[in-house]
Assembly symmetry: C2
Homo-oligomer: 352 residues x 2
């Protein structure tokens, strides 16, 4: 480690969900969409002119901004696009926080936020969730530069209403409020409609979940144009071309295919609600998830035990060995067939 | 700018080559390859299974590492892959330099380095080029944490020999030496063969030039496994999936198609050498470029004037309004037809 920076020596990277290659699993561990992306987007990829590949991608991502602008009814200059919502969050840390500034988030939330706080030397202030995993709204009102909220929250799946989000914004007009809506399309209400009302609101979304494009790395932020401008300055000082040409073009097609988007997300919601009931019958307690995963705990078997037994039986779910949630499992919603197979394995091989 | 960080307020982003949309240009301004990528790589893209898109890309980029490992005869753990060489350089700054550390590079070099120095608060030490744009090798021997050298240099195109690179490394064994080889495949010698000899050497390359994949954002570093490990720690603390699935798979195919790679780069080299002679006849002086561009200056017409006239005539080249080089033009090597058209326009419409 002779040449390593202090950061390389001291930081603990984000732990991503395992991607084992030893055998074929039913993969319910990284909240991917079980359905392929819009056929219109796939057609775009198959038919791309070979002469486009040699050229740099458009650093302004104009074509994709136009599509998002249309679907979300916002201006192009209110949109920023990055390499997945992770990158958009990382740029937000650099665009709006100085070293030593404070940022508030819950104890149970997307586990990348503490990594960014360490990487960019931002001080985290923890606003613990209530015992039932709901958020303590007034707990965000602490002296800080900003607040980041995942809505619906991960890995609990519990959503705030738009009124609740607005009350946090109103209480903290002097701070930047980042609402990370990675899972919003599965039953929660987006805060995008508040961006013209509050200059301190930045909403971040991704193509990795509801638009089935985790492979292509597209995330975006919507907010007032001054916030968006700062994100562009940081991106253009880091790597102006983080989103590639296929991402821009296929992403635009996927965004515009609202019909397919609604069909697949509604299927996932229906599967989630059905499987939740099935799990209830098997002795699981689950949160009121508005996302594409369930957060479940069994009334007699330990979470880690079920996790291991499911894996042995070819089903991957996510287990977090962390205080307060170390008896829970996060189960991504797959196809009906995949979920039925999980229920069968639980019934026949594990819970007995 | 109420919510902007100090960095967003103070940094001047990298200025990328213009991508005008007003009309169709012969684009010789961003050092892109005039030929499409390997047909084998394009076939991979066209035939990808639609079910791959919904899944996250492999954060280890294993398939691409295997291809690079084979072609460069290095171990997989000696390879790091990022979203273009820009990202790999940005990660290197974070992995090997602490705030306030010093880094040495020439005054005339890739203009992104000063932006990174500002972004990561690393102090730059300038080792000015000699008057003929060659490098002052001993000038790198200054008290610092590291050195970054573009070889061949940009925008001059002049290359150091492997012996010269090795002499810099030997003089500075206590420092990290980054050799940015974005253009190495057009006539210079790679320092990759030195990585097992020197633990302080990191070589960075890209798919954007010699492999015609600027669109797909793939860059890589080769060095001893401890350096590579630090890069992974920083990447996984920022965005573990910066390279997408198509980049990984098509990149691997392009890397393995050595025959196509040699054919296209040799064509570009031949075009470059031929056009250099044509430009000589027209009164241009040019450096001894070993890259996919020429760096030229006319003996009576001003660089800015020629730049503007070429643009009026549908040909984009790169002009840098900077001390020492503000009379030069950087001209990327296009197809023979494109270059002949430029020569014709110069002859018939500009230099008279």
């Amino acid at each position: 480690m002779k040449f390593w920076s202090n950061k390389a020596k001291s930081i603990s990277p984000y732990t991503y969900g395992e991607q084992p290659k030893d055998k074929k699993y039913i993969k319910l561990n990284t909240n991917e969409n079980p359905y392929p992306p819009s056929p219109k987007a796939i057609k775009i990829i198959k038919n791309l002119d070979e002469n486009i590949y040699k050229l740099y991608s458009d650093p302004t991502c104009n074509e994709l901004k136009e599509a998002i602008s249309k679907v979300y009814n916002v201006e192009k200059k209110q949109i920023f696009i990055g390499n997945g919502s992770d990158e958009v969050i990382a740029f937000s840390y650099q665009s709006f926080f100085n070293k030593g500034d404070k940022i508030v988030y819950p104890d149970i939330t997307y586990s990348f936020y503490p990594v960014y706080s360490k990487l960019y030397e931002i001080e985290e202030i923890i606003n613990p969730l209530n015992d039932d995993f709901t958020m303590n709204l007034k707990g965000f009102n602490k002296k800080s530069k900003g607040i980041i909220i995942t809505n619906p929250n991960a890995p609990t799946g519990i959503a705030l209403t738009l009124d609740q989000i607005e009350s946090i914004i109103k209480d903290n007009l002097d701070k930047l409020i980042i609402v990370d809506e990675a899972y919003v399309d599965f039953g929660a209400e987006s805060a995008v409609k508040l961006i013209n009302k509050y200059e301190n609101l930045l909403v971040i979304q991704t193509f990795s979940k509801s638009r089935s494009f985790a492979s292509l790395r597209i995330g975006f932020a919507i907010g007032n144009k001054e916030l968006i401008q700062a994100l562009h300055i940081i991106k253009d000082s880091y790597n102006p071309y983080t989103v590639d040409t296929i991402g821009i073009k296929a992403g635009a097609a996927a965004m515009l295919d609202v019909e397919y988007f609604n069909k697949t997300r509604n299927t996932i919601i229906a599967t989630r609600d059905r499987i939740k009931k099935e799990l209830d019958k098997l002795g699981f307690k689950s949160t009121n998830s508005k996302s594409n995963f369930l957060f479940i705990k069994h009334n007699s078997f330990k979470g880690e035990y079920i996790f291991k037994k499911l894996k042995e039986n070819g089903i991957l779910v996510r287990y977090f060995n962390k205080p307060k949630i170390n008896n829970y499992l996060r189960v991504s919603i797959g196809t009906d067939e995949e979920m039925d197979e999980m229920i069968r394995i639980l019934k026949e091989k594990i819970l007995k």
